[in-house]
């Protein structure tokens, strides 16, 4: 393979609106995580333009990209990515520390976020003491605590059993409706797909199909 280049995405032209509950669906290597990372300003497109909340991702320097993520984006990962030595409270508090909220404000917002995900009784626990479902709910609380415009969830149910998967998906759907936060998932899990209101199928880095589910 050496230094040979690989094109992960080709000819993508997508627009997401406020409050969408959308998913990038496709098999491994279809480019869904790459696209999610570009939207999340963790990666930059080698060609073309990605505009997120009025910012051209390719033109942002590292500080501006960090600012965008800090203020407007929330991330939910397949393996939760919680800070292992911090308590549930501290994990959820972290984005607010970066935003320099006051202690009282942080406390109120953290408790609100933990209430959304039903974990107010676990604030002093540390991730190793929690189940997978609980860890993912902490990750959701952490992503949502600052009320971001956009939440990016990469295979959020891949490590969860069916019951926990439905639980976290219902939580996210509820937050999406109540707070009008846009959710974009990267997934190939049928359970996740069943919750999506917009399904974008990717194949070999191209959009194969983009369908919106009509609400009842």
């Amino acid at each position: 393979m050496g230094k040979g280049e690989f094109t992960a995405l080709k000819g993508i032209n997508l627009t997401f609106g406020k409050g969408e509950f959308a998913g990038l669906i496709g098999p491994s290597g279809s480019g869904k995580t790459t696209l999610l990372n570009i939207i999340g300003s963790l990666d930059v497109p080698s060609d073309g333009e990605a505009m997120v909340l009025g910012n051209s991702i390719g033109k942002l320097n590292s500080k501006q990209a960090a600012q965008l993520r800090k203020e407007n984006l929330g991330f939910i990962f397949q393996s939760y990515n919680l800070l292992q030595v911090h308590t549930v409270y501290e994990n959820v508090e972290f984005p607010l520390l970066l935003l320099n909220h006051s202690a009282a404000e942080r406390k109120r917002m953290v408790l609100d976020a933990l209430e959304w995900v039903g974990l107010t009784d676990k604030i002093k626990s540390k991730p190793p003491q929690l189940s997978g479902g609980e860890c993912q709910r902490v990750a959701i609380a952490r992503a949502m605590v600052k009320r971001p415009s956009l939440v990016l969830a990469d295979e959020p149910t891949a490590n969860l059993d069916a019951a926990n998967s439905h639980n976290v998906l219902q939580t996210m759907e509820k937050l999406n409706r109540e707070l009008e936060t846009t959710f974009i998932f990267a997934t190939h899990d049928e359970k996740v797909i069943s919750y999506l209101r917009r399904k974008i199928f990717l194949l070999d880095g191209r959009v194969d199909n983009d369908e919106t589910v009509k609400s009842n």
């Binding site: 590292s62 960090a66 990515n81 030595v85 501290e90 972290f94």
Partner: protein, 403 residues
């Protein structure tokens, strides 16, 4: 613009400290092992430096009491390291200083070469004439007023051991007078004194100044004039050189400086071991915590801020070590300052002004300097591996795929 920027930096630093503290405490045993190793470095460096400073102070104190007083006049040709000049190194006590000598503020001493014959052996020595009534130096010169069948003499304990002499022993002493004529008499050892200053006893016999002046036909002559303290007036006197206390103790400063430089190698090795442990921890930490690093970036940190966070985390080992070191080090150092450190071997033959028990002396400067050096070194050692984070691809870090 500067004020908001500084405020932002200050907030970022506070946050980094807060997070680093949480991370370190959360890491448990790994943190405390590094902290304990590093705290040893603090305590041992401060203690050993304290011993050196204590030794220097003790050596200067003892030298002052036994050898140099508050400074000295030396006859212009006197060179303590050249015995061949000794026969010419004397002159009458200058008239400008006779009042001070009479008041006891200056102690004249005549030094001539001689030979001692302890138990049939021949030993070259320096005969030192000292006023029995002097109070400038600590030698028990008053013992020279003892009436015995011979010339009363006092010697140091190390000299007594070398010559196999004891109190009350009689021994033949030979000398040359001002005309070059040899003469001999019996001296009686009336006292043996103990001192930490080998320079005042090695190969030396003390007798009464007046007696020595009579023996050598050098009335009122002296080789050195020792001042009681540094308040005594020291006018320029023709034929005599003023030697200040600082000049005379320079040899001690040089010796301690040499010893301290030698000890620096030990400190370096000690610090190196502690730093290796921290470096190793940081390298392992960066490798093991890739996902965490990626998460920090995803949550809004720049990679350089993560480098800062990890550097602060490493540097914080030295802060925690200072606190832990203080917890057990302060009582230990205080106890040592009071009880002293008694060296396991006999130091009397070391040939330097050193006491058997050394009392460490600590200064704020010593503590602050040690803490600053350790904190700075730890910060550099932590920053070094942390720079790798700046080159990490956050998406790969998030997946923990960096090798």
């Amino acid at each position: 613009m500067t004020r908001p920027l500084n405020r932002t930096k200050s907030i970022a630093m506070k946050l980094a400290i807060k997070l680093a503290f949480r991370n370190l405490i959360g890491a448990g045993l790994r943190t405390w092992l590094n902290v304990i190793v590093l705290s040893f470095s603090y305590v041992i460096i401060i203690w050993m430096n304290g011993v050196m400073i204590g030794w220097e102070e003790q050596a200067k104190h003892d030298m002052t009491n036994w050898q140099i007083g508050g400074g000295q006049y030396w006859h212009q040709t006197y060179d303590p390291f050249d015995p061949f000049t000794l026969s010419e190194s004397h002159a009458p006590v200058p008239s400008e200083l006779t009042d001070a000598v009479a008041k006891g503020d200056i102690a004249p001493m005549l030094i001539v070469q001689g030979t001692l014959y302890p138990q049939g052996r021949m030993q070259s020595i320096a005969i030192k004439g000292i006023d029995p009534k002097q109070t400038v130096l600590s030698q028990p010169s008053h013992r020279l007023d003892t009436i015995v069948d011979g010339i009363p003499a006092i010697i140091g304990a190390m000299m007594a051991q070398d010559m196999a002499l004891q109190k009350g022993d009689r021994v033949t002493l030979r000398w040359r007078d001002a005309n070059g004529t040899f003469d001999a008499a019996t001296v009686v050892i009336v006292d043996i004194f103990t001192t930490n200053v080998p320079a005042v006893e090695s190969g030396q016999v003390y007798i009464s100044l007046q007696k020595l002046q009579e023996m050598t036909l050098l009335p009122n002559h002296a080789t050195t004039l020792t001042l009681k303290n540094n308040k005594v007036q020291t006018p320029e006197v023709d034929g005599w050189a003023i030697k200040t206390k600082d000049t005379l103790t320079k040899s001690v400063d040089d010796l301690i400086q040499t010893k301290t430089a030698g000890l620096s190698i030990f400190y370096f090795i000690l610090l190196l071991l502690a730093m290796l442990a921290i470096f190793d921890t940081m390298v392992l930490s960066i490798f093991r915590r890739q996902k965490e690093i990626g998460t920090y970036v995803a949550l809004g940190y720049t990679r350089h801020q993560v480098v800062g966070l990890f550097t602060v985390e490493g540097a914080m080992y030295s802060i925690l070590a200072a606190l832990v070191g203080a917890a057990y080090g302060l009582p230990f150092l205080a106890w040592q300052a009071k009880a002293g450190w008694t060296m396991p071997m006999d130091v009397s033959e070391f040939g330097m002004a050193i006491a058997q028990t050394l009392y460490p002396v600590y200064s704020l400067g010593l503590v602050v300097t040690t803490v600053l050096i350790v904190v700075l070194t730890t910060t550099i050692v932590s920053y070094w591996p942390s720079r790798k984070i700046a080159k990490m691809n956050p998406t790969e870090a998030l997946r923990g795929k960096i090798q």
